[in-house]
Symmetry: C2
Subunit: 109 residues, 2 copies
DNA sequence: TATCCTTCCATAGTCTAACTATGCATCGCC
DNA sequence: GGCGATGCATAGTTAGACTATGGAAGGATA
């Protein structure tokens, strides 16, 4: 089954939202969660995910701590910060706003 | 009123769709049409539009011819090619597919 | 034992495309 | 004269998702 590329910018939104409902997740879990929730349409490449998480750390949207998974593997766990939670709201409303606008254009046009 | 940036890739879609229902339009008209149909949410910058039209010419999605506007100005008119029409269908279904997937992620997550 | 898949992290480098800034020209209006 | 709107176009910047690649550790299997 063919997978599509993720439109630049929306990766942040999906990561933020995925983290918002959990206490903490590590990178691999985030990727798998997004893939599953998109019903396999979206595939988050590792070369996209980890740089994005680094940027989000710098921006202060997430915090990270090293730990071990249930399978006893070394992993880095990410948690949303209050700033990240605010950013999520911004990104979400922005997304809806833009998608609605585009939809109007390609319906009305 | 704050305007949002256009997600990379969707500009093609909006231009194609805008041209699909007209015989021909020049660049400035395309920009204004998109802006109006989006209810002023989307602002197509000239520095985005004209390079995009050039690329679409190269791809063979549009044809161009010089003429004069109703206001007697020199302008370049663009028309959709059959290839452009096919591309429109591709872009449109791709857009819906991806947006639906993202929506699932940010609702389910 | 060797091999292979999966899980997990990370970086380097490429590439697309939307952006800002800038330049040009003409028209109408004040 | 100046200014805004109409029109086209290019140069250079930037963000961010991608490919490719590297590593390490676990479990399964031959």
């Amino acid at each position: 089954m063919h997978r599509d590329e993720i439109p630049p910018g929306t990766l942040y939104l999906m990561i933020l939202k995925t983290l918002a409902r959990r206490r903490e997740l590590h990178g691999y879990e985030i990727a798998k969660t997004i893939q599953q929730n998109s019903e396999d349409v979206l595939q988050v490449e590792e070369g996209s995910l980890y740089p994005a998480l680094q940027r989000m750390l710098v921006k202060g949207w997430v915090k990270a701590s090293w730990g071990t998974t249930t399978e006893n593997r070394r992993a880095r766990f990410y948690r949303l910060t209050p700033l990240g939670r605010k950013q999520l709201e911004i990104e979400q409303s922005q997304f809806e706003r833009v998608v609605n606008a585009i939809t109007r254009v390609i319906q009305t046009a």
